[in-house]
Subunit: 214 residues, 2 copies
DNA sequence: GTCTATAGCGGGATAGAC
DNA sequence: GTCTATCCCGCTATAGAC
């Protein structure tokens, strides 16, 4: 029963947005808190009031991204449809998320293998664990769908744990080459996502060739 | 007709190797020259004797990676075979390169969208231009092969320029999850590469489904 | 709750010994 | 050609005003 109703975030969300934008541009080590404050239109005092350290801020951006991913994925995975349709839906959902929230997506990509070797504090390690758990949960959902699809003969026989890597990699790679353009519309983004996901499901070899190689 | 025969690199190559290892672990901004020197087993004096700045060193690692890629790709592309075979060969070549020279591959991935906004010197801009040209050349070769394959009916109709992105993205993403293990053999690496490339060519939908979606 | 000012330190780059 | 010593800037984080 929080005071002042509407659960206002008290500026935290705005800071996360600004941080995502700054981190996207220069990466964790290359971004100073002053740069984040510039994007935000304030000074670092505000940021340090809401976040203990730059590392904490970064981790929170990353966690926010993974939470959004997992929620979107689970909604599709719980819905109706064949495994092939669900797989299509999950990949589309991810592609959309990446395009619509590019700065957050970019942080998630950089943060994946950021060892944070210096994340000394136990509190930070806990957040890191949360992030990794979210990622694992997402991958597990995908793996489950692929296993179902194989069992039903809808998908080619494969090692799902392995196939998930290039699938997610291809989508995450959008953060490298995709940039929103003024002429982009929801429809054009949707078409782009569809093209990519269609490729990830069907490959590029012509159908009869696909059988020849199998 | 260089003196002292055999074109010895005078330590430059060793520095590049050490730098790649350090940059792989902590990224450009997160790596200090002292860290590179530690990996190298020397002090920064040596590094600054051979390279003007940290940025120059990083750019040279990146260029070295792209040069190796392009050479490997061109060898396959020039050889005999159908477009489908060539496409298979080029992707296999890249997958091998990434696994065998993981630190260099990782630098290439980080460096792709490192704006180097502060690469003030014209000399650095020139190297950056070289790197981008090498990448574009590689992509153009792939696009050409795909166009040939489409013309011969070996590949599904698609926009080659667009399809190349997830293809290379899936391979580059190996730098995120692949780590050499003691039990790895040349054969196991080859099998892994084959699995990934096979997926990128054939997708995951079962053949009859692939026709249904088309 | 957000500002200004500053402490303290890490790291890029250079000078000069050897 | 490589090392040691050092300059100096920029950045994290904090203290204290408002």
């Amino acid at each position: 029963m929080k005071a002042r109703g509407r659960a206002r975030s008290g500026g935290r969300t705005e800071i996360l947005d600004a941080a995502a934008v700054a981190f996207m541009e220069y990466g964790f080590a290359g971004t100073s808190i002053d740069m984040v404050a510039d994007v935000l239109g304030s000074t670092k005092g505000k940021i340090y009031y809401h976040f203990k350290s730059k590392t904490n801020l970064y981790l929170d951006v990353h966690r926010e991204t993974m939470t959004a991913y997992i929620e979107a994925i689970e909604e599709v995975a719980k819905g109706a449809g064949t495994p092939l349709e669900k797989l299509h839906g999950v990949l589309m959902t991810l592609a959309r998320q990446i395009m619509e929230r590019l700065p957050y997506a970019k942080v998630a990509v950089e943060g994946v293998d950021m060892h944070m070797s210096r994340s000394t504090t136990p509190e930070q390690r806990a957040v890191l664990r949360e992030i990794i758990d979210l990622r694992d949960r997402g991958e597990a959902i995908l793996v489950g769908i692929i296993e179902d699809g194989m069992a039903q003969g809808l998908l080619r026989p494969c090692n799902p744990r392995l196939i998930v890597k290039p699938m997610l990699g291809a989508l995450n790679w959008m953060t490298v080459w995709y940039r929103p353009r003024p002429e982009d519309t929801p429809e054009s983004r949707e078409a782009l996502a569809e093209t990519l996901v269609d490729y990830l499901l069907n490959g590029i070899a012509a159908p009869h060739r696909a059988e020849a190689r199998a």
